[in-house]
């Protein structure tokens, strides 16, 4: 059931962000728990965006403290809430700072106080009061079949809600793989006509940013928003709407197991001696080669870890249609290298 991923051209300058990220992760790890310095965090974000900390750290700090809080509407379509949960794992600013001090999240079903009509009124109010000034975050895919009956909120089809909310948005940010290209509901076997936000809003002329990943890494969302708040423009995007700072480099290049890859030291079964020594997971199906992502440097949960560090192969969840290439990640007899070629992904060389 392999469907081809879109092949991306390699660009050394782009992968720079990945390499720089190493020191950033260290910075974050060092920051650790306890009291966090806001300025330090601004420097961290500057680093993620591949900007020199001087003078940009201070500039980011300025932008964040003087800007009125950015109104955000967060819509959920066909989703699992993984991205809004991921949002709550934000390292810095902390979740309470994001919610109270940095953003104004006027609509998000998982957390907002009111239900029903009072909730809908919050969305309508923000659209009216902050026209062209609110960011629309979309989590989940958009079911286009059956006249929208596969996802309704407040008696309205999600398709209608999304179109209306997008019309006056400053920009639309699709978080997670489902919002990216339809994700899981669009995988083979799906019947709901699920598509991603870019496809759904094609031709609307909107800035549409996508942050694939299952779920996205919250640091990429904060960095994207901070970039806008600081420079009044969105970060550079690739042809699928993914910010270059986060998706411009290949995971495999910045992986901590890469020296083992280069030396030909591979894990061959779960828990074997190589696994215990942190060898390369390629032969256990790792999709790192060909996966555009900064997981290895930014990591997850306050920089604590990422799947490959914990011992599991990368599933390639930032790639288009990764669900239909998942079986590559569970090889048995075939060489995984061959599988990468079969799946049309030439990224093995990257």
């Amino acid at each position: 059931m392999a469907r081809n991923g879109t092949t991306r051209t390699h660009d050394t300058a782009r992968s720079q962000a990945c390499t720089d990220g190493r020191s950033i992760a260290a910075l974050l790890a060092q920051d650790g728990i306890g009291r966090r310095s806001f300025l330090r965090w601004c420097g961290y974000i500057a680093g993620m965006l591949a900007l020199p900390v001087e003078p940009f750290g201070a500039r980011i700090a300025d932008a964040l403290t003087t800007t009125p809080r950015l109104p955000v509407l967060w819509l959920n379509g066909q989703d699992c809430n993984g991205n809004i949960e991921g949002f709550l794992r934000a390292a810095n600013p902390t979740p309470s700072e994001l919610v109270l001090d940095r953003l104004s999240i006027d609509y998000v079903e998982l957390l907002m106080a009111p239900s029903g009509k009072a909730a809908e009124a919050r969305m309508a109010d923000t659209i009216a009061r902050y026209s062209r000034r609110y960011v629309l975050v979309v989590e989940g895919s958009v079911p286009t079949a059956a006249n929208g009956a596969f996802c309704c909120v407040g008696g309205k089809a999600f398709t209608q809600i999304l179109r209306e909310a997008a019309a006056d948005a400053l920009a639309v940010v699709g978080v997670g793989s489902c919002a990216f290209d339809g994700g899981l509901p669009a995988a083979e076997g799906g019947v709901t006509g699920a598509i991603g936000v870019r496809e759904f809003l094609a031709g609307s002329g909107k800035t549409i940013i996508t942050l694939p990943g299952c779920p996205m890494n919250v640091d990429n969302l904060t960095a994207t928003i901070v970039h806008y708040l600081t420079f009044a423009k969105w970060p550079e995007l690739d042809d699928l709407g993914r910010p270059e700072f986060a998706y411009g480099g290949c995971l495999h290049r910045s992986c901590e197991r890469r020296q083992h890859y280069q030396a030909g030291r591979f894990v061959l079964s779960w828990g074997d001696a190589g696994h215990q020594q942190g060898w390369c997971l390629l032969k256990m199906g790792c999709q790192g080669p060909g996966t555009p992502a900064n997981c290895a440097t930014v990591r997850f949960n306050s920089g604590t870890s990422w799947p490959v560090a914990a011992g599991a192969p990368c599933l390639g969840c930032t790639r288009p249609r990764f669900w239909d290439n998942l079986s590559n990640a569970f090889p048995t007899t075939a060489s995984p290298l061959a599988l990468h070629v079969v799946s049309g992904d030439t990224g093995g060389a990257r």
């Binding site: 959920n76 953003l103 009072a118 709901t192 998942l326």
Partner: protein
Amino acid sequence: MNRTAIDPITRIEGHMRLEVEHTDNMVHDAWSTGTMFRGIELILPGRDPREAWVIAQRACGVCTHVHAIASVRAMEDALGITIPPNARIVRNLLSGSQFVHDHVIHFYHLHALDWVDVTSALSADPAATAQLCARTNIGWPNNSAAYFGEVRTRIQRFLDSGQPGLFGGGYWGHPAYTLPPESNLLLLAHYLEALEWQREFIRVHAILGGKNPHPQTYAVGGMALTLAPDAPSGINTAALIQLERLLTTGKDFVDKVLVPDVGLLAAHYKTTWAVLGMGPGNLLSYGDFPEDDTGPGSFFLPRGRITGRRLDTVLPVDQAAIAETVARSWYTYTEGDATLKHPSAGETRPNYTGPQPPYESITSVKYSWLKAPRYQGEVYEVGPLARLAVAYAASGGAVREAVDRFLTGAGLRPTDLFSTLGRVAARAIETQLLAARLLIWLRSLRENMAQGDLRVANNGKWDPATWPPTADGWGATEAPRGALGHWVRLSDRTIAAYQLVVPTTWNGSPRDAEGKRGAWEEALIATPLADPERPVEVLRTLHSFDPCMACAVHVHDPSNGASVTVRVG
């Protein structure tokens, strides 16, 4: 008789609509609708059984772990794999920390605003709040008049900014909010503390699973991580120390903040809310947290059933007695929609017969994307209340002690557990039990490692060449929201059929062919409703079940590659 729709129901996972009929400020009937459908079970057939957990896990990003576990267990059951003891312990650590994390988020971020009036907190006296905190949250360091003054100012500034964010549009000032301002401020301060706490605590999942949400180290046969004290990565000595620190500080928060806060709330609201929201009175727990390899008998939270709210008799659970009907759900069964079908023989053809969006009301016979699971044809409630009631009745011991301690403190009786407030209390008590147990499991892992047992996966059946031509499996677990089961049929080394029967399908089911209401539809009868536009009382009972809709809606087709017709209209 008036009919009011509440949609979206917020502070839940997923998309849900509720329609209630009410007169004289009281609910007389309720219809619960799951309004979103993804079709995960149509996507699973034809795939490699070893990748099923990745897909099944995406059923829910909130209880992001439980579907992965149920899935690998179903495969291990089908293929006859016994996992090594360390894999069992690591899974308990992942599950247990998931429960603790999820229950804390549920209480503070999904439920508290039904009880806590944010605007009332602004008139609290910080010094009096500090005194209250000293009495309630004994030994918790974040306590001074200055601290509560700062929190109050922060909230005040936030609300005055004209951008009230998450708190905007809340039902503040509603007569059902009766806590004194100081209690409101205290709980609100802990709402904010819990936001930071949860992010820190769940690093347990990052260490064991690579990330959260959606940890990634599962494997059919064990876990895809390593246990090696001296290794540069994986669960080495440093990771064990870090885990111990995270679990210890996690337990501290649960003991000193969560449990006393829930006690404060329960003691205050008990006159009304320990009576309302009783539900069907039949409770089901698959049980979980195996402490050795002997099966359900070793579960820390036991398997069992309770009927008629009787806390003196625990009945056995036979998964063969579970069946689902689609009499009132948007699906069709070949043998007739009223049929009760066991999940292993289940069938689904989505058939939407509701109103065309946009709509004002759903009055069609079929009214939900959720099916209706029944045990021996009866409605059952699942979740923390079911688990604790079964454990209380079955074993006594640590569970009985913890329950009795909490109930005495809040001035409640064991029978009060069968109520809206009882569910909230049960969830907090369970959190406390698990927060303590996690450290014991971690200790046994450390001891095994110290003795040189580093096995964490049984790879004997990794290669599909070792599998039988066909096999059936059942994977059961307890999710934070209740009993969760995955049924799988393997054929020719691929998935032929896959079905999930999940907690919220039990609790949030629509009516069945006999017209029996689902668990929370039933629990909502007689709920007061002072103002239908501000249905805070309805939300109290509904949220006490901790609804999770995304995984509740599922669809299954037994034949590999069969096409599915979706008819609309």
